[in-house]
């Protein structure tokens, strides 16, 4: 967490055009959520090498949605510019009853001291009826997140 605090400081200080490594992390009573990727140089750098992992702590949720890994193809929306970080991850269950997981993280360099959460996450989980879930399940879970952009040397 101390390293993340340093990264949070760096995002406050880094020039907006700088390329670097983007990281986000949330760890509270509901979720463990981590995301990372490389932001290319320039005013609107492309995000490459993206990967994220989500673990929901509530028992009884569908296992395939409660623990999910995301890759670049799951990064539907992304905006990392001018001190803002906005990421949206989306996945659907590939077979069986309908199920989806939608994760939004938004953070800003404004208004948060270094090391403190500088944004929020929202996890929207939906699953149709399945074995052990006769009525399906829907959850919207929100909490604080810390995102940082470490400038490339």
């Amino acid at each position: 967490m101390r390293a993340l605090a340093l990264l949070a400081f760096l995002v406050m200080a880094a020039p907006v055009q700088a390329s670097g490594r983007l990281t986000c992390r949330a760890d509270d009573e509901h979720v463990i959520l981590t995301a990372s990727g490389r932001v290319g140089p320039g005013r609107a750098g492309a995000i490459t090498g993206f990967d994220a992992e989500l673990a929901l702590k509530e028992p009884g949720l569908p296992a395939d949605l409660a623990r999910a890994q995301f890759r670049g193809a799951d990064l539907f929306d992304r905006w990392v510019m001018d001190g803002e970080v906005r990421l949206r991850l989306y996945r659907e269950r590939e077979s069986g009853p309908y199920g989806s997981i939608d994760v939004i993280m938004t953070a800003s360099r404004e208004g948060a001291p270094p090391g403190e959460p500088n944004g929020t996450y929202a996890v929207d989980l939906a699953s149709g009826e399945a074995e052990g879930l006769p009525e399906g399940v829907e959850r919207l879970i929100e909490g604080p997140v810390l995102c940082a952009l470490e400038s490339a040397p």
């Binding site: 609107a44 750098g45 992304r78 905006w79 659907e92 309908y98 939004i104």
Partner: protein, 152 residues
């Protein structure tokens, strides 16, 4: 006027609606320096790609940066986007070359649905960068103006 409620409805659907929802995305710039169009079909499910993507930039008139006069963007040139909860922000970048010179052109659109008007007005930023001849800092020029998008 019927498109305006459709725009708001589509934005809400994309944010919280069923997985198969789709909507037509259109963005444009039309001022003394820049003509720009972007169109495509947005869906929540699938690959997240903007289907039937078409986009073209034309630099017209005085005061435009030296470099390309026409750029056709492809889906792969969408380097960033945020089409969530009433915001339509899109950034495109593509390399250009003309008369032995080359560089990159970047278009950044930032728009938001106006709940009074049910439209998505906003701004654009156009950055034309030219490759430095001997490895120095690449010269670039930026112009800004008004842009608009719709999703319905």
């Amino acid at each position: 006027m019927t498109a305006r409620p459709a725009l708001l409805a589509a934005l809400l659907v994309l944010h919280a609606g069923p997985a198969a929802a789709t909507a037509n995305l259109d963005c444009g710039i039309d001022d003394r320096a820049v003509r720009f169009e972007l169109s495509g079909l947005m869906g929540r499910s699938g690959s997240g790609a903007i289907l039937s993507f078409r986009s073209e930039l034309r630099l017209v008139g005085r005061g435009t940066p030296r470099g390309p006069t026409r750029v056709v963007f492809s889906q792969e040139d969408v380097v960033q986007r945020w089409i969530v909860g009433g915001r339509i922000d899109i950034a495109l970048r593509r390399a250009w070359s003309r008369n032995g010179r080359k560089g990159t052109v970047t278009v950044i659109l930032r728009t938001a649905v106006d709940e009074e008007e049910l439209e998505a007005p906003g701004t654009y930023e156009l950055i034309v960068t030219q490759e430095a001849p001997r490895g120095g800092k690449p010269p670039s020029r930026t112009i800004r103006g008004k842009a608009g998008c719709s999703l319905g």
